[in-house]
């Protein structure tokens, strides 16, 4: 089973990124082998639709769950079709969130925001 987390850096030290679509990197963590892979998020610098492109990337990497502080509705729509479960991260620590996920302590992400396209979701 693989999980994805938007992260600030290509390391476990610099925390979970507060944005999903515009996170600079994604950590792909394999629960069984404990192997970590960092992906450059090519959507981070998109003019628009970063959430869509990032979600496509997460889906293409065949992860089973996404741990993220927030997620927009376009991206959430893609992740739903791709059958990727969404969990809400707690705090900034990447390792604490992986641990909490393994212990079944993370809640599903329910508050999907309307997206930041349309200049702030007006």
């Amino acid at each position: 089973m693989k999980i994805a987390i938007p992260v600030n850096d290509k390391s476990l030290e610099n925390g979970v990124c507060q944005s999903f679509g515009r996170a600079p990197y994604f950590l792909i963590h394999d629960i069984e082998s404990k192997e970590n892979t960092f992906l450059n998020n090519s959507a981070a610098l998109s003019r628009g639709g970063a959430g869509v492109k990032a979600a496509q990337m997460i889906a293409d990497n065949e992860v089973d769950a996404l741990l993220t502080p927030r997620c927009g509705d376009n991206a959430a729509g893609i992740l739903k079709v791709a059958k990727i479960k969404l969990y809400k991260t707690e705090g900034d620590s990447i390792e604490d969130n992986i641990k909490a996920f393994n212990e079944g302590k993370l809640s599903p992400l329910m508050d999907i925001h309307p997206g930041l396209h349309d200049h702030g979701g007006r």
């Binding site: 628009g48 869509v52 496509q56 889906a59 376009n74 893609i78 396209h117 349309d118």
Partner: protein, 285 residues
């Protein structure tokens, strides 16, 4: 003759100047290109309004023809397409209707359908043709509405005032592209100067003859005036900071219709603008 009124930031007096010029000229047309928040109609209160919807094209996929090559997904700079679980998903709300995905699809699985994004409204206010565009909330771009609006300008209009959106983005470029003359209106703040400098760059880029009107002028230092002097930009006139004018305007009244004093003031400004525009047309045809 088409006169565009623009400013970097909102609230500097584009609509104030535009509606007052519209009522002073004869046989004028007022076009409100600020389609995200049109307000000129609140002042001009047009009658006999005719509404017409504006649609853009968005892609529709025939999954029977789609082979999953994802060329459309890779092509879309706005990321309006995703291919998940052997299914192409289209995100209408971020599609910019460029039609590129339809062109790149090797299987001809994509076609286009109409999507209404807003409307244009045409009416008359005491002999002035009033055109307004309204973009529906949440749509990606007002450009198709501005394009439609500018195409609706009556042939017999002698003077057309284009009330532009704030800023210097694509919708402003679309609004000024056919203008004969650009009037930049600025307020005396540092923020105002920053935004004035952006529209100044824009009109230079478009090679449009232009000048500045300084609004809300107070005694003392005026950063916008200093910017114009430093950059050798013509200052055509100054409108004082005036609570009577502000009060009329905030009650959706057109000052030039309400008081001879303001009629005189805006007539003089309008005359200078027309003279400048005619002069430019003669010197740089």
């Amino acid at each position: 003759m088409k006169i565009a009124v623009l400013s970097g930031k909102g609230g500097t007096g584009k609509t104030l100047l535009s509606v007052n010029m519209a009522v002073i000229g004869e046989n004028t047309t007022y076009i409100d290109c600020d389609v995200e928040e049109p307000n000129g109609h609140l002042f001009l209160k047009p009658k006999e309004v005719i509404k017409e919807k504006v649609a853009v094209k968005i892609p529709v996929v025939d999954m029977g023809l789609c082979n999953g090559c994802q060329k459309c997904v890779e092509f879309c700079k706005f990321n309006a397409l995703a291919y998940i679980n052997n299914k192409l998903m289209v995100f209408d709300n971020i599609c910019h209707s460029c039609g590129g995905c339809v062109l790149v699809c090797p299987e001809k699985a994509l076609t286009e359908k109409d999507k209404i994004i807003g409307e244009v409204q045409k009416g008359v206010s005491q002999g002035i043709n009033v055109l307004s565009g309204i973009l529906n909330i949440g749509e990606a771009s007002g450009i198709p509405i501005i394009d439609k609006l500018l195409g609706e300008e009556p042939k017999n209009s002698q003077k057309t005032i284009i009330d532009c959106p704030p800023g210097s983005a694509c919708i402003v470029m679309e609004s000024i592209k056919d203008a004969d003359y650009c009037v930049l209106i600025a307020e005396p703040t540092v923020f105002g100067v920053h935004n004035l400098s952006m529209v100044y760059e824009l009109v230079k880029l478009f090679n449009k003859p232009h000048s500045v009107i300084l609004n809300k002028c107070l005694d003392g230092k005026n950063p916008a005036e200093e910017f114009c002097i430093e950059n050798n930009i013509k200052i055509l006139d100054k409108i004082p900071f005036d609570s009577e004018l502000g009060t009329l305007n905030s009650n959706a009244l057109i000052a030039a219709r309400e008081s001879p004093k303001y009629k005189k003031m805006f007539s003089e400004i309008f005359k200078k603008i027309i003279e400048e525009a005619q002069h430019e047309a003669a010197v740089n045809p």
